[in-house]
Symmetry: C2
Subunit: 213 residues, 2 copies
Amino acid sequence: MPKEKVLPRTRDREAKERALIESAKNVLAEVGFQGFGVNAVARAAACDKQLIYRYFGGIEGLVEAIGAELGLRLRDRLAPLAAMGKPARYSDLVQRMALGLLQALRDDALLRRIAAWEVSDGSPLVASLTLARSKGMTQWMMETRGDLKPPPGVDAPGANAFIIAAVQHLVLAGSAAGAFAGMALRDEKDWERVRTLIKSMVAAVYDAPKPAQ
Amino acid sequence: MPKEKVLPRTRDREAKERALIESAKNVLAEVGFQGFGVNAVARAAACDKQLIYRYFGGIEGLVEAIGAELGLRLRDRLAPLAAMGKPARYSDLVQRMALGLLQALRDDALLRRIAAWEVSDGSPLVASLTLARSKGMTQWMMETRGDLKPPPGVDAPGANAFIIAAVQHLVLAGSAAGAFAGMALRDEKDWERVRTLIKSMVAAVYDAPKPAQ
DNA sequence: TTGGTAAGTCTCCGTGTGGTGACATATGCT
DNA sequence: AGCATATGTCACCACACGGAGACTTACCAA
């Protein structure tokens, strides 16, 4: 019996790496990108910050590692939407995406922090996250779109970006201030209002003559 | 001749105060809310940080002083829009407001930084800024609205908040990353696209049957 | 003139940050 | 076995931060 320890293969590098990534996500989700740094992450992971430099080459590498997992995270969040079956019209697709994004952001503090980070900081640190997030987003769109085509005469990518921007901003403002432009964004009924807002906006843009409401 | 110094009346407290406020705005506009603090502001104002504590009671007071000037700043930015005469329809009003806000945010780094701050930080420090900004905004709306009424069956405050949120987010993302959701936001033609997007969104929501485009 | 008070400047402190080097220990390979 | 390497931990550095205290200087009213 050489030791009673089972077998810390390679002395647990993988475990430490995962712990660091997980702690980094937690720190980012809980305190935001301010106060996010090697010290805070190492403290949360209960290991030395030196490992961050050794394993990830610094905080940038850690952020990139988070970005790499971000695509999967988005897919998981948006998966239930895809399971609802193929949308009938293009507007259904967009509506579903917007509502799904709304819920995903509301449920996931990490996604919210990253979204806030993206608009607050142009540093290259964030670029990888932005890339990963938008890639996961468009990929999901592509997959669930099927052969649906947007109605002619509408700048669909632009309109979608517009809607996504609005949803994102409303969630962020609601999370930070509980209101935006005089509109309360606190309890579930406030968000129900946002949902109907989304539906009517999407319908107004894509279903040319207003549908029976 | 007691001294060659002219006459620093009251030894220039007012001047220092204004210098501090001005420097605070500059620092905030240039480096953003990260790196915004007593040291940076005092350094920019070329005076001792102690004065910040003495005159404003700390950085919070300084931020509140900025907030107090924010209403005027917004009015100035939005004034040219009001000079265009009364809008004919409610949708014209909203369109004008959205386009004006787009331009104001694009031109004014300070407004952008504050907007980014609002969605990134729920601390009470920002609350005064948020309040001042939204107050100036709604006030301008009230004034230029006149007796125009939104079409029935539309949640006008909600739709407006939605549109404002989208505009704000697009400008912030463009300023930080140069793109959003696959849509480039760099040169003037990109923003022209956003402008037509705004117009068509507003028209779709408020001018029920789609107008000839 | 004198004294009180405000203005302005200086130093100093404790803390937290990102980052580096040194050192001991464990592991796998030959 | 022995050795090189990977691993984990510690101390340390320079720097910036927010903040307080002490000090000199100017003003203004008795």
